[in-house]
């Protein structure tokens, strides 16, 4: 009696349930960071990894696509972590942007943005070719997935690609975002990720807003707005040039 009633309560308060659950995850992560890693791995990084582990568990239990959010009692996680609140909170971080410094990184940010689309795209196309894909549409779609998991399906849909290829393309992008989130705090020291300018370069190059914002949040929260500022243009520019210019280039090389 009490258990079904409790589940009912959670289901009628999905978003509030999500706040409570995420709060507990954050608190556990802070404790783990302090006592297990002696503060060396940031609490946010641990929290994001716990989040991903929970998403894996949710996917295994329900067989669904939305990780933990597919469990009815935890569907509020989907609302809390969905595009609406994510964009709302990202925009809020701009209140902390130092305008002068952002302006200085303008040109270098644009360079990073171009490289951030061309490099992963070219690599994705080459790997797809090695794994046996030969037609320009599949190659372009898989390459686009290496840019981000949004550019991938947008490109695939625009070019009329097959469903399995689009699925592969999304999986590549999601895995890239996950890697960026997890690896950034560890790579930060080696790539000089400790100032606003390198954060903007990082945002433009890595692209995926979720990967960049998650990775930077776990590295140093103060860098988030600078990275997000360039990353936010990445998917848009990617969606713009991948199904057009880059597709023509791949087509020309294939012939």
């Amino acid at each position: 009696m009490t258990v079904p009633l409790m589940i009912h309560t959670l289901q009628t308060n999905t978003l509030v349930t999500a706040f409570a659950l995420v709060g507990m995850v954050m608190w556990i992560s802070a404790v783990l960071s302090k006592y297990l890693t002696m503060g060396r791995v940031h609490g946010s990084a641990i929290a994001i990894m716990i989040g991903l582990a929970l998403a894996y568990a949710g996917g295994i239990i329900t067989g669904g696509k939305n990780g933990l959010a597919d469990l009815p009692a935890l569907s509020g996680i989907g609302l809390m972590g969905g595009g609406m609140l994510r964009d709302f909170a990202i925009v809020a971080t701009a209140f902390e942007v130092d305008v002068e410094r952002a302006r200085k990184a303008g040109l270098i940010g644009a360079l990073a943005l171009c490289l951030g689309i061309l490099l992963p795209f070219s690599f994705g196309v080459i790997i797809a070719r090695i794994f046996g894909y030969t037609d320009a549409v599949s190659l372009t779609t898989i390459g686009a997935g290496a840019v981000t998991y949004i550019v991938g399906p947008v490109t695939g849909a625009a070019l009329g690609s097959t469903s399995p290829v689009i699925a592969l393309s999304i999986a590549t992008g999601v895995f890239k975002a996950v890697l960026v989130m997890v690896a950034t705090p560890f790579a930060a020291r080696f790539i000089g990720l400790n100032n606003p300018r390198s954060a903007m370069v990082f945002g433009g190059l890595m692209g995926t807003v979720s990967g960049v914002s998650g990775g930077l949040a776990a590295t140093d929260r103060r860098l988030v707005p600078y990275g997000a500022l360039t990353a936010t243009f990445h998917t848009g520019v990617g969606c713009l040039i991948t199904p057009s210019i880059l597709y023509f280039v791949v087509g020309a090389i294939c012939k």
């Binding site: 809390m80 592969l168 590549t172 848009g236």
Partner: protein
């Protein structure tokens, strides 16, 4: 008024999103082109405008600052609803191209961000100028939340 800050943030977000969709439509892409970025630019401009007129009250700062501080928990929730199971399941090509792409981009970050010579770290900047992360947080005793 706290709600004024929240409303300002909401208006910037909605306008940015609308303009991003409009830009996407104009360019013939099925995507929101830079909507979040445009919203951020508008919020920065609005903040400067309010500050110049002396209208940047505590309530407004708190209304926006709270959502900025909620950002990491929201990212954790976002991580928890990714399709991680499928990403792990879908085989070696996905792993190879994602790993390679990330590695190449990390290397490029290291090279590009050093292109124009050494620059100050955010710690050095803050040691000299005081916290960049804002008076918003300080004034409203939000340091604990933003750190």
């Amino acid at each position: 008024m706290v709600i004024a800050g929240v409303a300002l943030l909401a208006i910037c977000t909605i306008l940015g999103s609308y303009l991003g969709d409009l830009l996407g439509l104009t360019l013939g892409v099925k995507a929101n082109v830079g909507g979040v970025g445009l919203a951020m630019v508008m919020l920065i401009a609005a903040r400067a405008w309010l500050a110049r007129r002396g209208n940047l009250g505590e309530g407004v700062r708190f209304g926006v600052g709270f959502w900025g501080a909620m950002y990491i928990p929201i990212v954790v929730a976002m991580a928890a609803d990714q399709n991680v199971a499928a990403a792990i399941r879908s085989g070696p090509m996905v792993l190879v191209s994602a790993f390679g792409a990330v590695l190449i981009c990390f290397t490029a970050v290291a090279i590009v961000s050093r292109l124009s010579g050494p620059t100050e770290t955010i710690d050095q900047i803050e040691a000299r100028e005081g916290p960049l992360t804002p008076k918003v947080a300080q004034r409203d005793n939000l340091e604990g939340m933003t750190k």
